[in-house]
């Protein structure tokens, strides 16, 4: 109910505000791309990071389930980033490790290590729209933001949580994306994505991601410590809470390799 009210309000707000940028023109597309490029460039040079996080899944009846995971990320300057996720709970999947290479122009690559059979399995590239461990996050929501992945259009200027924002429409270039488009609320002060709304293949609002509790690292890089993905259609939601985040942990690019997955701890 609340979710529906929120989404209804969002629709109304977007209809009301649509006036100023009613039609996508070259200028608004260019401005959209400009903002996306600046957003990416402000987030370059962070190197590597390591996080401990809790993922809380919640279904329509309010029942909750949680998963503990650790995430290591390695920045690739010329391409998409590399990420390694290790599950600590539930117990029967503890030690399962998930490696992904995000690419700017080619499809992402992903592998998974299953400790029960001590083997690494590749996950087909087109299956990136599926749910990440049963959560409301899809694979493609978890990979790094790369400018080349989308077409952009600045829809309007707005305020979000009292701050001035741009609302940018992103249309995925990849046919295998689960989305027809996404709307991203980017704040003008720091170029941070504050909220993202995802639209399904028939163009209906599907999910909304709210990013909160931003903290500054290395005096330059903002990271949300809490993000919640709410499914507007099913009433399910997933909250990702970062309990601990460190930078410059000393990992090397060579640690992000499928041959090393089975030793990932």
């Amino acid at each position: 109910m609340q979710i529906r009210t929120v989404s209804l309000m969002l629709v109304c707000v977007s209809l009301l505000c649509a006036g100023s940028y009613a039609h996508a023109d070259e200028a608004s597309k260019l401005k959209g791309l400009e903002i996306a490029t600046e957003r990416k460039s402000r987030d370059m040079g962070w190197g590597d990071s390591s996080a401990e996080a809790t993922m809380i899944l919640r279904n329509a009846s309010g029942q909750e389930a949680s998963r503990e995971l650790r995430m290591q990320s390695f920045e690739m300057l010329e391409d998409g980033d590399k990420a390694l996720t290790i599950f600590d709970s539930p117990k029967d999947v503890a030690g399962t490790a998930f490696l992904s290479f995000s690419h700017a122009r080619e499809p992402d690559e992903q592998w998974i290590y299953l400790p029960a059979i001590k083997r690494v399995k590749r996950i087909a590239t087109k299956n990136k729209s599926g749910p990440f461990v049963g959560s409301e996050f899809a694979f493609e929501d978890m990979t790094s933001f790369e400018v080349e992945k989308y077409d952009y259009d600045l829809i309007r200027e707005d305020t979000f949580d009292g701050e001035a924002v741009w609302v940018i429409e992103q249309t995925p270039k990849d046919d295998f994306s689960g989305y027809s488009k996404t709307l991203v609320w980017v704040d003008k002060s720091e170029y941070r994505a504050r909220q993202i709304e995802y639209f399904d293949r028939k163009g209906a609002p599907l999910k909304i991601l709210v990013l909160e509790d931003f903290r500054l690292y290395k005096d330059k890089y903002w990271r949300p410590h809490s993000s919640e993905m709410i499914n507007l259609q099913t009433g399910k939601s997933t909250r990702l809470i970062t309990n601990k985040l460190e930078f410059d942990t000393g990992v090397k690019e060579s640690d992000f390799d499928k041959s090393k997955l089975r030793r990932a701890r």
Binding site: R58, S61, T96, F98, I112, K121, S129, P131, F132, T234
Partner: protein, 760 residues
């Protein structure tokens, strides 16, 4: 005095009707099977819980039937591809599943490949053969997404209906589905597509209600108008009656609108019932006015005469009828209670309107009915004489008829198959029949196995129980398909072991099961997750069994059998069951029980009223017989011609009780009047026959034709209710004209003799 201001009466009622009539604009049709259930119905709650824990399962199902009798060909495949693509665009859809996007898994190069079963780019004969081989070998597909004979395929769309009233959403989805079906049939000649599923069923409920409103109501008005003209042979009388009817209906339905009620398959018949009962009231008044004028009274005298002798019986029968309808509140089905309350209101309005408006209208028009001939009274006088002569024969015959009826009453069986409420002319029913022919049935039941512990389902013991339960279900004769995670676990284990068939068994350890599932889950594409089969904690799993379209009794018996078998497993996990068909199966039984109570209450109340009205304990008790016997005969005849009792028939008992009392009241009160004058039993019977015989016959014809209109409904709940009511009303007339006088003759003659012997 109002009686001298007829125009004021007319204007007053018209103003009142206009005022309340505005409420009619608030009435809407509701297309939602949930109108049959209270919000706290336990089966509804169970089903809602399943939908919240897992994904929703409300669906639209496209059944694609190629004329060739074989779906495994390039043309049908391209239809299925286009249809699946189109199905994703269904408003409010969250999932579309078919042979095309079935997430086929296999091992390749030591990797797990998860992909659509049919790829548009691979449509060679070899590819088609491969698809066929996979489809027929996998229990997840065979007889779910494709018929086991390969002669039909299914595209299943799951939708998320909004909270509250579904009507608009359902109409939008149904319109889209029909458009898509038409488009596909046009693009691929040689294919027929049938639409079914919960959404289409919901929509059919609204459509049936609308159909009844647009066809039955005008038909009923036509029939009633003809009946009135034929029987009164007076334009003024007909007009007066029609005004009473119109105002009763407008005020009742307006009040319904103000009360926030809505039109459903049940309440849409309120105008028909109110009209019928209003006409019966008017008939009594008109017939007496004419009698009076024929005896030489002036119009005013005749009106006064008619009011004198009719006010009480009309009031009493209106109250008893209202009480009968009010006991529908005992029903577990909210819309049947609505039907009862609205009709009760309408009946009382019709009573007030006929007692005030008919006299007013006659005064206003200064009509003279004296010249008109009245036929039939001779016939009833002769009939009375015949009964007096033959009563010793009538009684044993009546007892025999009653015994035979009682025997056949037992042939009736509770049987609610919701999809069979719709007759063959409805789109849904045709789809259901096609589905039954090709796949075997569509009654689904969701079993939930709950371990109450995180990752509980992955434990080898629980998996074994799940597999055993799945297997047990498959061995049951009424089961045509079982959709179970057990098959997925086995398939994954085989895939992870290089597609070695000997590994088509459950994973051996909890870790294997959990991690295979995790890998599989991560490999699925958009919208095709397994949250519809397993909950977020992996603590519970849903097993969907599809059954033949069983009656409610067999269906609830199956549910119990399944639960008993699961309990015998000696497992920590619990089993629960839920689904819309199960809801209907249960409500049929519960409703029957509560309606029997309702009928008993109605019987007690109505009999008490008769004791009061007839001012005689004895006649009150005697009236029980002619009030009950018609229902016995009616249900006996029903046992012969159908034998299937559904939701609506369970309410007929208390509903008809109030109506048939009308005959008894009129007959007994006239008989009583004559007895008070110390006439002989024979004379009393003769008197009753000649004064009310015609009136009883007339009202019975009107009532029977009014309820008879319902039998034209293509919605079985309405048609069956109409037919059984007609049978009972006609039986009531026969009982009141044959059995009741014969019984009185026998009883009172015996008493007379006793009195005489005492006197001696």
């Amino acid at each position: 005095m109002l009686q001298h201001r007829p125009l004021l009466v007319l204007a007053g009622w018209t103003f009142f009707a206009l005022l309340l009539g505005i409420g009619m604009s608030m009435l809407t049709f509701r297309g939602d099977y949930r109108v049959y259930f209270e919000d706290d119905n336990p089966q509804l709650l169970a089903f809602q819980n399943v939908q919240e824990v897992f994904s929703k399962s409300e669906n639209v199902s496209f059944l694609v039937v190629p004329d060739s009798g074989n779906v495994f060909n390039a043309d049908t495949f391209s239809l299925l591809i286009a249809l699946t693509e189109g199905a994703w665009q269904t408003p409010m859809s969250s999932r579309a599943e078919s042979l095309v996007n079935f997430q086929h898994t296999y091992a390749f190069d030591d990797d797990l490949i998860v992909e659509d079963l049919i790829e548009p780019s691979r449509m060679s004969q070899t590819d088609i053969e491969r698809v066929k081989q996979v489809a027929m070998s996998l229990p997840e597909i065979n007889n779910r997404l494709v018929a086991s004979q390969g002669d039909a395929a299914v595209v299943e769309v799951t939708v998320n209906l909004p909270e509250g009233d579904h009507t608009l959403a359902v109409a939008e989805i149904a319109a889209y589905a029909r458009e898509l079906k038409a488009e596909m049939e046009a693009a691929h000649p040689g294919h027929t597509i049938y639409l079914s599923g919960v959404v289409m069923m919901n929509h059919a409920f609204a459509e049936e209600a609308q159909k009844d409103a647009s066809t039955l109501v005008p038909l009923m008005f036509a029939i009633i108008a003809i009946a009135i003209v034929l029987m009164t042979r007076s334009a003024v009388a007909s007009l007066a009656t029609m005004i009473v009817v119109a105002l009763s209906v407008v005020i009742t339905m307006g009040a319904a609108g103000y009360a926030g009620l809505f039109l459903s398959t049940a309440t849409v018949n309120v105008p028909t019932l109110v009209t019928t009962l209003a006409v019966a009231d008017c008939m009594h008044l008109v017939v007496s006015i004419r009698q009076g004028m024929k005896q030489g009274m002036s119009l005013d005298e005749a009106i006064q005469f008619s009011l004198n002798i009719n006010t009480k019986p009309v009031l009493i029968t209106s109250i008893t009828t209202a009480v009968g309808f009010l006991t529908l509140n005992f029903s577990e089905v909210p819309i049947l209670a609505d039907l009862g309350n609205l009709t009760a209101l309408g009946v009382m309005l019709a009573c007030a309107l006929s007692l005030t408006l008919v006299p007013a209208f006659f005064r206003l028009c200064k009509v003279n009915l004296a010249g008109q001939t009245e036929q039939g009274n001779d016939f009833f006088a002769k009939l009375g004489q015949w009964v007096i002569v033959h009563y010793k024969m009538i009684l044993p015959v009546s007892v025999l008829v009653l015994l035979i009826s009682a025997y056949f009453v037992n042939k009736n069986e509770l049987n609610d198959i919701v999809v069979k409420y719709f007759d063959q002319s409805s789109e849904l029913r045709q789809a259901v029949d096609a589905q039954e022919r090709l796949i075997g049935g569509m009654t689904n039941i969701d079993f939930v196995i709950d371990t109450q512990s995180v990752s509980g389902i992955n434990s080898p013991d629980v998996l074994q129980d799940l597999e055993a339960f799945t297997h047990w279900l498959r061995t049951q004769p009424e089961v045509i398909h079982v959709f179970s995670m057990a098959d997925t676990y086995k398939r994954l284990n085989k895939n992870m072991n290089n597609d070695d068939d000997s590994f088509y068994i459950l994973p051996q350890t909890q870790e294997e099961a959990a991690q295979f599932l995790l890998l599989y889950e991560m490999s699925l594409t958009y919208g095709l997750d397994i949250n519809n089969q397993i909950d977020i904690d992996k603590a519970a799993t849903r097993v969907v069994a599809t059954l033949q379209n069983l009656g409610s009794k067999e269906f609830t018996e199956f549910e119990q059998r399944a639960k008993r078998w699961f309990e015998s497993l000696d497992t920590q996990a619990t089993l629960s069951a839920a689904s819309p068909p199960l809801m209907f199966a249960h409500i049929g039984e519960v409703n029957m029980r509560s309606m029997v109570n309702g009928a008993l209450v109605a019987l007690v109340l109505i009999s008490a009223m008769l004791v009061f009205a007839l001012k005689s304990w004895r006649l009150g008790v005697i009236s029980l017989l002619p009030n009950l016997i018609p229902a016995g005969i009616g249900f006996g005849i029903w046992g012969v011609i159908s034998g299937e009792i559904n939701l609506a028939l369970s309410v007929v008992l208390s509903m008809t009780l109030g109506i048939i009392v009308d005959d008894t009241v009129h007959f007994l009160s006239k008989y009583n009047v004559a007895r008070a004058q110390n006439k002989s039993v024979e004379a009393c019977v003769r008197y009753a026959f000649s004064t009310v015989g015609m009136a009883l016959f007339t009202t019975t014809v009107v009532l029977a034709s009014g309820f008879g209109v319902l039998t034209f409904s293509s919605f079985a709940l309405n048609a069956d209710m109409g037919l059984l009511t007609v049978i009972i009303i006609v039986a009531a007339l026969i009982v009141d004209l044959l059995f009741l006088p014969a019984f009185l003759l026998w009883l009172d003659k015996a008493n007379n003799q006793k009195e005489k012997s005492y006197a001696n």
